[in-house]
Amino acid sequence: MLKISNVSRRFGDKVAVSGVNLEIPQGQMVGVIGRSGAGKSTLLRMINRLADVSSGSIDYGGLRVSELRGQALRNWQRDCAMIFQQFNLVPRLDVITNVMLGRLNGRNPVLNLLQVFSPAEQLEALKALERLDIAATALQWAQTLSGGQQQRVAIARALMQGPKMILADEPIASLDPRNAQIVMDSLRDINAEGITVITNLHTLDTARAYCERIIGMAAGKIVFDGTPDELTTDVARTIYGADGLKEAFSEAMTSTSIAPVAPLRLPRTPTNAQQAP
């Protein structure tokens, strides 16, 4: 259970996230929507501790995440994998090594610097790549891959971390619809194993199709928290601040999918089903 209590984040006199309270049970697939600058990325970055909270606290189980330091902090970051819009891979390094970098934490630091990985880790990395259907690219430099392929490498690296949670910061915003679907399907697959997935999205229909819970943010605050069914057009208009627009809020504008993807309810393990709201 991830518990965010009254968390705020200020940059100078600008408030990015303001007094957010949130409880996310283990194994949930959560979509966060909202306009650019609504504080979605900052919220995710604070959970991973790429950014620090200005006030409030973040807890996971008995762990006070917002106050971790040193090795404890790095261990938390290993458990809580991050996926970025621009993939953030090492461009001039082969794909398989990029994936194995997910394992850096907890290994012998000297072996890390010498880039020595055990056969078991090589095998595991290849299996992760196979699972995402890009094993054939394993020996290429990451920068030679297409956007969709790179994002799948990033997911493989996240899997290599053995995470309890995956945070995806607009993972499909730079991808074409087909690749977007592959990436979202992979995330749903991973979620089915009981790993919490929290993803920022720009597209309402993607959020509706893939997420069991949707959170809407505006001006640093949570303005909506509910199921896809509760996310009506009116609610969406409030989240995106489209009230003042003359034209009807067009959902087609925020759509990336080629064909409507039927909302798919995943088989849940008994423990997950109990924790779900």
Binding site: D94, I96, L123, L126, K127, E130, A135, A136, A138
Partner: protein, 319 residues
């Protein structure tokens, strides 16, 4: 083996990968061994060429400094600010006052400070001259801006020639023509600066993001306009950083050139150390140290004021 779980294609990949890793490790080990062997052999040779005296003479390293001390610590500051010495005996060694540069009847600039100003002036003027010419040339040496290989080849060779000779060699040639003095020093440092800064500048330009350039090309802008609006705003922060760094380097260069007849602090430094004037020498060393620290602090401050913290972060904007 657990490899069974992998598909045949992936097993082949894994074999290839392990082969690559093995090859890389073998080459790394060979490389390290070669470097260590070469280093040991070179050190052994150098020690032999030094008649094996290196380790024998090492303990005497500080003997020169021990004998080369002023009468009392205050002497250093008297020498620095041209104040009369109580040890004055008519010799040059303790004559601090006769080189004062009087501005009015009573107000004077101490000689070493005056010489230091000359040196810093040489450095600043030659950075401005050399930097301006390098700025003009660098765009013609960039492969992403100039399609004609001939132009690039010529400009780059010019820069290489200017960069190849140390300032002190150019200064030696120029003093023979222009006679001794700061003009020869300025010309020498400027020439070297063109070559050195030009190289750094055009590498920055070549690493610039070409998307804005494409955007301007699409509106029908000329080459000059594209350079002005697409390239210049991107590269200017790095240009400023490199120019300030070059200013620091040029202060050092013009000090050294002073010692071969370029005037300035280098000249008085050579004379004082040659004549065994300990207090004067220490005064100059301290002045130089303070100057370099000041320039470093000032250029850091100026860079932050002018360009923020964005320099050396080229390419990040592409994301």
């Amino acid at each position: 083996m657990t490899d069974v779980a992998l598909s045949p294609a992936s097993q082949t990949l894994l074999r290839h990968y392990r082969g690559q890793v093995l090859t890389r490790r073998i080459y790394s080990v060979i490389g390290v061994v070669l470097v260590v062997v070469a280093l040991l052999a070179a050190m052994n040779y150098a020690n032999a060429a030094n008649s094996g005296k290196f380790f024998e003479r090492l303990p005497y390293l500080f003997d020169f400094l021990k004998t080369f001390t002023p009468n009392d610590p205050m002497e250093i500051f008297r020498a620095m600010f041209d104040i009369e010495s109580p040890y004055y005996d008519g010799s040059l060694k303790f004559d601090y006052t006769s080189d004062r540069h009087y501005l009015t009847e009573s107000l004077y600039i101490p000689n070493f400070v005056y010489q230091l100003i000359i040196t810093v002036n040489i450095a600043v003027v030659s950075t401005i001259i050399g930097g301006s010419i390098a700025f003009g040339l660098c765009f013609f040496a960039s492969a992403n801006l100039v399609g004609a290989g001939v132009v690039r080849w010529i400009v780059r060779r010019i820069m290489e020639v200017l960069r190849a000779f140390p300032e002190i060699v150019i200064a030696g040639l120029l003093t023979a023509v222009l006679s001794i003095g700061p003009i020869a020093a300025i010309a020498a440092v400027s020439l070297h600066t063109i070559g050195a800064l030009g190289k750094l500048f055009f590498e920055v330009v070549e690493n610039a993001d070409m998307k804005p350039e494409e955007g301007l090309r699409s509106v029908g802008a000329t080459w000059l306009e594209r350079v002005r609006f697409a390239i210049l705003p991107q590269v200017l922060p790095n240009f400023v950083s490199y120019t300030l760094l070059r200013t620091e380097i040029n202060v050092r260069a013009s000090t050294i050139i002073g010692a071969v007849g370029g005037g300035g602090i280098g000249e008085v430094f050579r004379l004082s150390i040659g004549r065994d004037h300990a207090a004067k020498t220490y005064a100059i060393v301290i002045l130089l140290l303070v100057t370099v620290v000041c320039i470093d602090q000032f250029s850091g401050w100026l860079r932050r004021r002018l360009v923020g913290n964005q320099s050396f972060e080229l390419g990040r904007g592409a994301a």
